[in-house]
């Protein structure tokens, strides 16, 4: 396993490409271009938001095994997007205005084409007539594959900072 420094030096091209990919992805989501965002996902993707408790770091009392808020397949994500397009998904009608800040990106090769990508995400979310907007901080643990076609998101785990979610629903994608 390369150290972070060595990994950065030997993977500059991959780092640049993945950073562009994450920025592009953030823009698609902020612009509510969800069908185009879906095309960035590998059909075998697992997209997960585990439940988090206030507890000692990394233990079973912080991330109880198997407990999640979301654990979506590609099909389940598609259905969420289809729901949002019905015009009757009241929680997101009209859609939230969001700004996603993606940073603290660190990549590590896993195999010939796949990289483990850690990053930090801060989402500003203001719904319809909200006077109070929400800040939703999270870390992302992603797997990104780079091949001839470009980047694809193979896996995503969202580690929300909060244990009790303050934004009224997780009706947007992270």
């Amino acid at each position: 396993m390369l150290s972070t420094y060595e990994a950065a030096l030997t993977n500059q091209a991959a780092y640049a490409e993945i950073s562009q990919f994450l920025g592009h992805e953030a823009r698609l989501l902020d612009e509510n271009r969800l069908d185009e965002w879906l095309e960035l996902l590998d059909p075998a993707i697992v997209y997960e938001i585990p439940i988090r408790l206030a507890g000692a770091r990394g233990g079973a009392n912080e991330f109880p095994q198997g407990a999640y808020r979301v654990r979506d397949t590609f099909e389940m994500i598609s259905k969420r997007i289809e729901r949002l397009a019905t015009g009757e998904a009241w929680a997101e009608t009209p859609p939230s205005r969001t700004v996603r800040l993606v940073g603290s990106i660190v990549i590590q090769p896993v195999d010939a084409t796949v990289y483990a990508v850690d990053s930090a995400l801060m989402v500003y979310r203001q719904r319809a007539q909200d006077e109070v907007a929400d800040l939703i901080p999270a870390r992302r643990l992603d797997r990104v594959r780079i091949d001839a076609g470009g980047c694809k998101l193979v896996r995503r785990t969202i580690i929300l900072a909060e244990t009790v979610i303050k934004t009224p629903n997780l009706g947007i994608f992270f």
Partner: protein, 455 residues
């Protein structure tokens, strides 16, 4: 002085008294003043006269299976430790040190036979007893240790794996206090000797609605399904929503508890009976402890949603399966914890039957979370629609008009669509199939009765 007889208090101001009087009059006509969804003084009265006085839900036995296990929960706004002691008894302890009020426990769950205060080192056993302090023999030789243990709920009891507590020492036992709600719980939870247990800790999230709106929705609001949740049907993950109004049966059990069954057994035959559980799961059930009415109920009109006063609800529902497959059934218990007059914390648990295989359990969890959770495709739309009432409660215009909300659906004055079923021999009232708001009216009647129980 009413403090001797009961721990309920009287309204804190003439304005609050007037609001309660007005509410009483309105309720007789199936109406409710808008202020009750946002008045902070009323909220405080709810904390004292309901949450600090009634039996309230805290969590599941299966969350604290071993001696020393604890979870951190709330009674009203008060942080409490729910612990299991060496003898496997459950205690509910106020989460503050009696010395200077430091918070004793700041993790959501764990295992500890003692709690030691990080300020001056007072130590308590996990049953609340004062145990020690640094240099105890020099510092506290004459401390009356019985006096200085943690505040402890005088009543703690369980039913079908659910843990309840009550802060009123004069309260009746749990079974008596639950009344007809216990009948409903049995029909839901007592279908196998192994019972049900939680699949993980609760999902927790804050919504900008009043806790009562959530309770009354789950008490028996079938009328919203076809509109609020239309998006789910449009994407083919729900079906028959347009028929719900014709086939929903409200059971107003009495004392403010109620549930809703859909006549799915009558409508769909075998697949609609017993909530749609597939035969692999169904053949494990043992209905011998249920009475004849409960057995018929769960076969023909399985209870889909319900509310136990004040703020404990359940939903047992299914996905819409692919052609030729049986549905996946999930059971979610949820609690609408009051944070303020305008904010509520949802705690949502998914439960499995203990006889289920890994695969059956994880499918049930996945389906339940997809529908009812912080990201639930049903739940999202419910909670956002609940945000309106607290805003109206503060509206200058609405208050100027003495505005009310309308719960008259099914009442005679609106055409009397919701009629009691004269053949029902079970607890409370079973209504004929059709839309109606009797459960909501019953909920508010019980609520008002408890609020007015002070001097």
């Amino acid at each position: 002085m009413d403090q001797i007889e009961t721990s309920a208090v009287s309204p804190s101001s003439p304005a609050l008294e007037r609001l309660l009087d007005r509410t009483k009059t309105c309720l007789e006509d199936g109406l409710i003043p808008v202020e009750i969804f946002g008045d902070q003084d009323l909220f405080e009265l709810e904390m004292t006269n309901i949450f600090a006085r009634q039996w309230v839900f805290l969590g599941f036995e299966s969350e604290i299976p071993d001696s020393g296990d604890f979870v951190l929960r709330s009674i009203g706004k008060d942080s409490v430790i729910v612990s299991r002691d060496r003898e496997r008894n459950i205690h509910v302890l106020a989460n503050f040190c009696r010395h200077r009020g430091a918070q004793l426990c700041s993790t959501d769950r764990g295992n500890a036979l003692n709690f030691r205060c990080p300020y001056h080192g007072w130590v308590y056993k996990n049953n609340g007893e004062w145990r020690g302090a640094p240099d105890k023999s020099a510092s506290y030789p004459n401390l009356d240790t019985d006096e200085w243990g943690l505040l402890r709920a005088p009543h703690v009891d369980t039913m079908f794996g659910l843990i309840f507590a009550c802060l009123d020492p004069t309260a009746p036992p749990l079974l008596e206090a639950l009344g007809p709600a216990a009948w409903m719980m049995k029909a839901l939870m007592d279908l196998h000797p192994g019972g049900m247990s939680v699949m993980g800790p609760p999902d927790r999230y804050r919504v900008r609605g009043n806790w009562k709106t959530a309770s009354e929705n789950f008490a028996g609001d079938a009328y919203h399904i076809g509109v609020a949740h239309r998006s789910v049907e449009k994407i083919n993950l729900g079906q028959g929503f347009d028929l719900v109004n014709q086939f929903t049966i409200n059971y107003a059990l009495g004392e403010g508890h109620s549930f809703t069954g859909s006549a799915t057994g009558d409508l769909l035959g075998e697949v609609g009976e017993y909530w749609g559980y597939d035969p692999e799961i169904r053949r494990n059930f043992n209905f011998s402890s249920l009475d004849a009415m409960q057995q018929e109920l769960i076969r023909r009109h399985p209870p889909a949603v319900g509310n136990i006063f004040p703020n404990l609800s359940f939903v047992r529902f299914t996905n819409t399966p692919p052609e030729g497959e049986w549905p996946v059934v999930y059971t979610s218990w949820r609690q609408w914890q009051p944070i303020s007059a305008t904010e509520t914390e949802v705690l949502s648990w998914q439960l499995k039957w203990n006889f289920m295989t890994e695969e059956q359990a994880s499918k049930s969890y996945a389906t339940g979370q997809y529908g009812f959770s912080s990201a639930g495709i049903f739940e999202q739309d419910d909670t956002v629609l609940w945000e309106g009432a607290p805003q109206v409660a503060k509206s200058t215009w609405a208050r100027k008009e003495g505005a009310t909300f309308n719960m008259q659906l099914g009442m005679p004055k609106l055409g009397g669509a919701q009629q009691p079923d004269p053949t029902w021999e079970g607890p409370g009232t079973r209504y004929m199939p059709g839309p109606g708001e009797a459960p909501a009216r019953d909920f508010y009647a019980r609520w008002l009765q408890e609020l007015n129980s002070g001097g």
